[in-house]
Symmetry: C2
Subunit: 159 residues, 2 copies
Amino acid sequence: ARPKVGYLYSGNNGVNIISEQIRKTRVSDIKSIPVIVDEQTSLYDGIVALFLEDVGSIYVVSKGYLTGVVSRKDFLKSIMGGMEIHKVPVGLIMTRMPNIVLTYPHETALEAAIKIIEHEVDSLPVVEKEIIGGKELFKVVGKISKTNIARLFVELGRQ
Amino acid sequence: ARPKVGYLYSGNNGVNIISEQIRKTRVSDIKSIPVIVDEQTSLYDGIVALFLEDVGSIYVVSKGYLTGVVSRKDFLKSIMGGMEIHKVPVGLIMTRMPNIVLTYPHETALEAAIKIIEHEVDSLPVVEKEIIGGKELFKVVGKISKTNIARLFVELGRQ
């Protein structure tokens, strides 16, 4: 066990050391199930998925590995730009790898939150890396959004 | 000064009592400047404001007082429903008072975060109440979104 330094905890009134909990909570503890579609999915079907699942962004895969992210903002921008939503595939408007900010199950919630704030993104795909034929590929195993961070904040604050 | 109970703080390595900070931080300490439009603003102009300011929702006022909230999701839904974005005003699609979840400058960040999570909204207008002719009216003085909460989480966690 790591030595506790910097404070002494009398442990008698239910106050937890939240500073430690902020640092200990892992991405795997708070991640959500992502909505995942194929690159060939039309903008229309992508938007329908967004509404049915009530999420702000969806992840795009090809052959099972992450290739892109599409957000409400991307969809809105495409429509405003006059794109034909029944014909254009999400692959055409998504933010594409390697320009996606990723997180991993073992990272801390704090590290994920820092990435969200610094890169100004709504969510991070939680991925597991695989090396196949010398190439790095990423399996999507979850999603961390500002909602997960706000929920954790509420949980810690309520203790 | 309030007595500190439940823990002893050695005070020598910069670890702050974050549990207390979570409860002490006020909405007024972390609020953002909201984007505000008039009820007559067209959906098109509302969407342009959303993109120019890069926000997820905008607030609607009439005679200086809050009447509605419109989000990216509302705009996307209206367009999908075939609305004529150059003709329809935001007043027609917005979530209208009294169905808006509000927060106040003196509320804590934790209280605001709880409202965001429990009501599943993206942001809360920060308002000041005025009673005029026996009616409650609300001046918009800020905005609290999940981004503000995530930013506070990062700030507290980094200490």
